[in-house]
Amino acid sequence: MDTGVSGGGDEKAEFDPSEITYVSYGGEHHLPLIMNLVDQELSEPYSIFTYRYFVYLWPQLSFLAFHKEKCVGTVVCKMGEHRSTYRGYIAMLVVVKPYRGKGIATELVSRSIRVMQESGCEEVTLEAEVTNKGALALYGRLGFIRAKRLFRYYLNGVDAFRLKLLFPQPYIHPSLLMEAHEDSIRRSSSDTIEVSH
């Protein structure tokens, strides 16, 4: 879906990274904070249903970053079974402009990814605009690869990358994988778009 972590412009907040506290989604009182952040920083409008869908079903995967009572960043995710893999999905990641570039986004995402790993996810995925250099660099440093390019994924005609992180698995010989995937060769080969706008 969306990541807003690059740029930031001129006004930078002065703070020490240790002053940032990270909190797991704790309930309804956090929802307006998340919605305001996302509304403010990201271009896509989301209805309230979309937010509730994520934070109600997977509260343990959403985190907020606070600097002295002020909410400065958030990450919203989900996880579940997708075509016989259990995988996590990063739906929204935002840090307010004056606080960017200091590792807050990385910390938010990492916390979520750790929960996903502990919950048994095999991989984590998200989409990012090909022009979103900040996001691509961030996820690249965390070990995500650009698995696919999605032509004109966004309404404004911009392409997206599907980014994927694969957790280390017990080794399976490729020929066994081929047998397991024989069915999927036969099945329809069109890709499902995770989220459509």
Binding site: G157, L166, M178
Partner: protein, 713 residues
């Protein structure tokens, strides 16, 4: 709601009845506390994302609409006929409408819905209204016929890409008498030509030969307007002809299409010139966003009217391309259609594959690519002329006798034919989608290979009724197997290279990618070499050797195609080793990633290849094994880049009449040269790299092979 109010809205639906649900919503609001949620089982993420908040202008497109229906808009005077009773203004506005429609059409081609673009034109939505206005009527008729033709070719292509949105018509009526549209257009063109002749005669003080009413009132502007309109009408006429010519089966209309393309291009350029657009002098033009040559807003367009027709969920508003962008788009489209029309119908499969790959380098859009696909594949035949088995026989250089053989009817051979057709279709798709499909079909090709192998083995085991017959069948199968393997490696190679074009690899992954490209290319050359040697053996069998003592195998070793690929192999190997050496000697530092390692990323990038057994052994360990001992000093002794340079130079003479291959070889030489120099520099510099110098890898000379660049930091 009162009955009177209800009737206002009845125009928008057929059997819809409106009810006021405010009390119900109020009760619902009171019934739930903050934070309470009703979750329906089938209310999934898709439903959540499709939901919209009423009256939020970002989501509720009805908020920005002025009229509720087309009829209401017409009643409100949004699309007057005539546009103005002042004939000069009427002509000006007509030109604006023509220009805006061109911009809408280009926007549609670029991936937006027809309803929000071309059919945001109220005149097009009610074609019967324009019959009294010759210009508007003729222009809209040809636009509808054109849209219909374009939808038809894109539907035929059936690539099921994301661009599926393109063909959705949502109940818009595109039917009309297409054949008539050209005669209507010609009639109007004729009239305006006569008007132009008349006004020129007048200004030259010559006698006016015929009594004809001028186009509009202002004699000073008459010539300009006549020429502006004529150029636009002629462009539409020729463009429609291009589409009709390209539609003709078996490529029969290609030559004529090229003539019409040339006319289109000259009319577009005339349109641009006549509008006084001085792009070269960099003068301040009216807003660059303008969708008309004049800069005025066109009369008669409203994108929100189709809101209920356009999509399953209310559409977001879109931005129409500017007029100059639209012209650029059509110029590029016409150039692409010209290239397609220049494709030789005699081409072998290899030539066709090469043609398509080259064509795709200019990043053609959907409409052009759909035309290419339709030209290549009709009725399951290449160019609609040659059956696919015949195409494969020639490509695999199977012996003539195969024509009378039952092998064509074998299940696995039929499947192979399907794979080839599917491959051609995929290669015409946009590169992002194409790469994904190429990765997926590798397994299909592998399965067919296995089936051919099984068929061959079963022939081995059969009692030899007709020994010669069985031998022929076995030889054919053997040759097919070699050819199929070669194609599999070709597909794998293309899959890997496209990753660079699509920017899927990060710098830290280049090493493993070049290694994989190296491994796959070596196999490809091996199979190609094998095929060429078999075909040469077959050729020489029947011929008398013209030059006594000349060895057939020596010819094969120097086959230009093989050498061409060999230069790529050396380059790939050189890059693999250089990157590995730099890593081993800590000259490029990569921080470890917290959640996984290179092994996972290797597996992810090459999973589809691994599943298809390309190559057969456990590749990450092979990659590690091949590269762990790489060092700069070792590379100083054995320089793959020098080899690449040498081979590229040598083989150039064999491609003297092939400008594309020549420029490719030149690029290979450049990459090899620059990397060689960088390598020597890095060997000398050693540890000093950290402090004063910065190393990066850039695609300055070749889209797939990177050049190492050392700069002062």
């Amino acid at each position: 709601m009162a009955a009177a109010e209800a009737s206002i809205f009845s125009g928008s639906g057929d059997n819809s009845v409106w009810t006021d649900v405010s009390p119900l919503l109020q009760a619902a609001c009171n019934g739930l506390q903050d934070g309470e949620l009703i979750h329906g089982d089938n209310f999934n993420l898709y439903a959540a994302m499709s939901a919209l908040e009423i009256m939020d202008p970002k989501m509720d497109s009805g908020m920005i609409g002025r009229y509720y229906s087309v009829d209401e808009a017409i009643d409100g005077g949004a699309a007057p006929i005539p546009i103005s009773f002042d004939r000069t203004v009427d002509v000006q506005c007509t030109i604006d409408i023509m220009d805006h429609l061109l911009a809408c059409e280009a926007t549609w081609h670029k991936g937006h819905s027809l309803a929000q673009t071309v059919f945001s034109c109220i005149y097009l939505l009610r074609p019967e209204r324009t019959t009294s206005h010759a210009l508007l009527h003729s222009y809209s008729s040809v636009i509808r016929a054109t849209c219909k033709a374009v939808i038809s070719v894109v539907s035929d292509a059936r690539t099921h890409e994301e661009e599926d949105l393109f063909t959705m018509m949502y109940g818009l009526n595109l039917n009309g008498e297409d054949e008539k549209c050209l005669s209507i257009l010609n009639a109007v063109e004729e009239t305006i030509s006569r008007q132009l002749r008349a006004c020129r005669a007048l200004s030259a003080r010559r006698k006016v030969l015929e009594d004809i009413e001028p186009l509009q009132n202002n004699p000073m502007l008459e010539e300009g307007y006549c020429r502006a309109i004529l150029a636009r009408l002629r462009f539409r006429k020729h463009f429609y002809h291009v589409l009709m010519c390209l539609k003709r089966p078996q490529g029969r209309g290609l030559q004529l299409a090229r003539k019409h393309v040339a006319s289109c291009i000259s009319e577009l350029k005339a349109i641009r010139e006549l509008s006084g657009q001085h792009t070269a002098c960099g003068g301040q033009t009216i807003s660059e966003d303008r969708t008309t040559a004049s800069g005025r807003q066109p009369v008669g367009f409203d994108a929100s009217l189709n809101a209920r027709l356009s999509a399953p969920t209310p559409p977001r508003s879109i931005k129409i391309l500017s007029w100059s962008e639209a012209i650029e788009y059509f110029l590029k489209l016409l150039q692409d259609l010209d290239i397609i029309s220049s494709c030789s119908l005699e081409n072998s499969l290899d030539c066709v594959l090469h043609f398509v790959v080259q064509f795709q380098k200019s990043q053609p859009d959907l409409v052009a690519r759909a035309h290419l696909q339709r030209l290549l594949l009709q009725d399951g035949k290449l160019f609609g002329r040659e059956a696919i088995f015949s195409v494969i026989s020639k490509a695999a250089t199977l012996p003539e006798v195969v024509k009378n053989h039952d092998i064509e009817k074998m299940e696995c051979v039929i499947q192979l034919g399907q794979l080839v057709i599917n491959l051609l279709r995929i290669l015409c798709a946009n590169s992002a989608w194409q790469r994904r499909k190429l990765g997926k079909i590798l397994q299909d090709w592998r399965v067919t290979y296995i089936q051919l192998e099984l068929a061959l083995r079963s022939k081995f085991g059969e009692p030899s009724g007709t020994p010669s017959g069985e031998n022929i069948c076995m030889n054919i199968l053997k040759q097919l197997l070699v050819w199929v393997e070669e194609k599999v490696y070709w597909i794998a190679s293309r899959f890997l290279m496209l990753g660079f074009e699509l920017e899927l690899y990060s710098t830290s992954e280049y090493g493993m990618v070049y290694w994989y490209i190296y491994v796959v290319s070596v196999k490809l050359v091996e199979k190609l070499h094998h095929r060429i040697s078999i075909s040469n053996r077959v050729k020489c069998r029947g011929k008398k050797k013209r030059v006594p003592g000349k060895d057939a195998t020596r010819d094969i070793q120097f086959s230009p195609t093989v050498l061409f690929l060999q230069s790529h192999i050396c380059l790939a190997e050189g890059l693999t080793m250089m990157l590995a050496a730099l890593r081993n000697e800590k000259m490029i530092l990569e921080s470890p990633t917290p959640f996984n390692s290179d092994q996972e990323r290797f597996f992810q990038h090459f999973e589809l290849l691994q599943k298809a057994g390309i190559p057969d052994h456990n590749s990450y360990q092979s990659f590690e094994g091949s590269t762990k001992n790489a060092s700069l000093s070792m590379l100083a002794m054995y320089n793959h880049f020098k080899d690449a340079q040498r081979i590229a130079k040598e083989v150039k003479s064999s491609f003297s009449d092939d400008p594309e291959r020549l420029s490719e070889l030149r690029r290979i030489e450049q990459v090899a040269e620059h990397n060689s120099v960088a390598l020597s520099l890095l060997c000398r510099v050693g540890d000093a790299l950290d402090s004063s110098l910065k190393l990066s890898f850039e695609f300055s000379h070749h889209p797939h092979f990177a050049t190492a660049v050392v700069r002062r930091s």
